[in-house]
């Protein structure tokens, strides 16, 4: 290999080392470098001289990296988590474990309190997320060094929420109580989001980071839950011959503490081991988008012909809503993982198929639901379901439109990202409404 080639190789390695400039960008810069060297060479300069001048003109690698990082902020984020000093990394582990332990202790304290007062109390199930998610929010507020004002505001809002929900006079078995229990974790997840973005709630880029974080957190939490399930199952199997009476105790103490701690641990893992999930998540999206597209298309056609029928009850409604949310998640995740610069391809077509099928299903659900409301009137459950389905319908319709335009090459993927990050506000407002306004409106029925 000639000296020039060796030098270009060394230069390329140096450019890639900072992780801010990826393979394709480096190739583009290298092509520039070679053009320039060739030009200088034809003007009579030696290879060495030409290389030095061209590299100098291209700019210092650190400044170049910083400039690329500004444009590709997702890469900057990756670098922040890997170049931490070792001592700092160890401190971050201990900090994370402290918050995880706090969540576990809070859950157990609340459980013991509930047991001491009146055995099983529904408030414990309803408030469970209050003992875990605010701890996660606090963890992010500390890690992100969130400014004081937004921190205090966020804390006050969560505290107010906790007081309000627990002052509501729900009778036993109240439907609105159950709705609050279902929506409260989502509300608190948005509180986690505010802390996650360090209070910069208006930034679309940070919101997209949060959406990405949510998807990756789900993957990590599911992995930890799987491992935990295996551990507990084996523990029970090992204990059976010697101390079968201890099994229940072990489950009672380990399971809640483990689950609460895992919420924080999963969040830390997302940040610390980002590149691992970055490799898995696009693969998962690529595998499941076609499968979900097929499944949705078949069920959309099936239900469109068969009609939803009388048997369409609340359980099935929840299944449909979860399905629609999963589709939305897959699409958003697919968009965020695809990289802003990739050309539209088969995967995007499949996403469009999935979204349009989901739209058809959602329309069918809405029609059936409106029929029921016309027949039997409004109940808290119907209002909550109607609102969520309308929210999803609007989101899916606009998503389909954006995907279509993107596939036609008429708009960048950025538009769809903006739409989804903007829509977070609508979701947050709706769940907050269900938790705070719906119970009083329906007299806590």
């Amino acid at each position: 290999m000639s000296t020039l080639e060796t030098r270009i190789d060394e230069w390329r390695a140096a450019v890639l080392r900072g992780r801010m400039i990826d393979e394709a960008d480096a190739q583009e810069l290298e092509s520039h470098l070679r053009d320039h060297i060739a030009d200088l060479g034809s003007a009579g300069l030696s290879d060495d001289e030409a290389f030095l001048i061209a590299v100098g003109r291209l700019g210092r690698i650190d400044q170049l990296s910083a400039e690329f990082a500004r444009e590709h902020s997702d890469r900057l984020w990756k670098q922040l988590t890997v170049t931490r000093e070792e001592g700092e990394a160890r401190a971050s582990v201990w900090g994370m474990l402290a918050f995880a332990a706090l969540a576990a202790v809070l859950v157990h304290a609340a459980r013991l309190f509930a047991e001491a007062s009146d055995g099983f109390a529904f408030w414990f199930a309803r408030d469970l997320s209050f003992f875990v998610l605010p701890v996660l929010a606090a963890y992010f507020a500390v890690v992100r060094r969130m400014p004081l004002r937004p921190t205090v505001t966020l804390g006050a809002v969560v505290a107010l929420l906790a007081v309000a929900v627990n002052l509501f006079p729900f009778p036993v078995g109240s439907a609105t109580d159950l709705l609050v229990a279902l929506h409260l974790p989502v509300v608190l997840w948005f509180a986690v989001g505010v802390a996650y973005v360090g209070g910069e709630v208006t930034s679309h880029v940070r919101r997209m980071d949060f959406i990405r974080f949510t998807g990756e957190w789900v993957i990590y939490f599911a992995l930890i839950a799987l491992g935990g399930g295996v551990l507990l199952g084996l523990t029970a199997a090992v204990l059976t011959p010697i101390a079968p009476e201890a099994i229940d105790d072990v489950m009672l103490w380990v399971l809640p503490a483990g689950a609460a701690g895992a919420v924080v641990v999963a969040a830390w893992l997302v940040e610390a081991k980002k590149s691992v999930i970055e490799n898995i998540a696009p693969v998962l999206t690529a595998i499941f988008t076609p499968l979900f597209a097929l499944m949705l298309a078949v069920s959309a056609v099936g239900y469109a012909f068969a009609g939803l029928g009388r048997e369409f009850d609340r359980d099935l409604l929840i299944v449909f809503d979860v399905l629609l949310l999963v589709v939305l998640g897959l699409v958003v995740y697919g968009i965020s993982a695809r990289g802003a610069l990739r050309r539209p391809g088969l995967l995007d077509v499949l996403q469009l198929v999935a979204v349009i099928s989901a739209l058809v299903l959602d329309l069918l659900v809405l029609v059936s639901m409106l029929g029921r409301i016309g027949e039997f009137g409004f109940t808290p459950n119907r209002v909550a379901a109607l609102g969520l389905n309308l929210l999803l319908l609007i989101n899916l319709a606009v998503t389909a439109w954006h995907l279509g335009r993107m596939l036609a090459g008429r708009a960048p993927a950025l538009r769809l990202e903006r739409w989804q990050t903007g829509y977070l506000v609508a979701f947050a407002a709706w769940v907050l409404l269900v938790v705070l306004a719906l119970p009083p409106v329906f007299d806590f029925a």
Binding site: E28, L29, R57, G59, F68, E71, P412
Partner: protein, 115 residues
């Protein structure tokens, strides 16, 4: 002459878009054209052009495609899009206003027509 950094940054987008109006091009050629147009007075660090090109691509103003140079090396070619043309027209209006304003004070006339 050393042109102020902020001014160079402000000019960069319309300059790149206007050069791409002349036809699709690639980074090195765009920089050569800048040098030629400004008779070498407008200088920026070569590498900084690429993050700018990527931003314009993300915003949908230009479209990039890998191709090959006459020598067979891989090279990224950029092409202006309809949105880019609209953006350029808008920026051009602003620049004409800015230069006309200053020209009024400094005594050189900018034709108001042809925009």
């Amino acid at each position: 002459m050393n042109i102020d950094k902020d001014l160079v940054a402000a000019m960069a987008t319309p300059l790149v878009l206007a050069i791409l109006m002349e036809g699709s091009s690639y980074g090195y050629a765009i920089l050569k054209r800048v040098r030629e147009l400004s008779s070498g007075e407008l200088e920026w660090t070569d590498g900084m052009l690429y993050p700018l090109l990527h931003r314009l691509e993300r915003q949908g103003y230009i479209h990039a495609e890998w191709g090959a140079s006459p020598e067979g090396r891989r090279r990224r070619y950029y092409q202006i899009t309809d949105a880019g043309r609209a953006q350029l027209a808008e920026q051009r209006r602003q620049w004409v206003t800015a230069t006309r304003t200053l020209g009024g004070l400094w005594g050189f006339a900018i034709p108001a027509t042809g925009v």
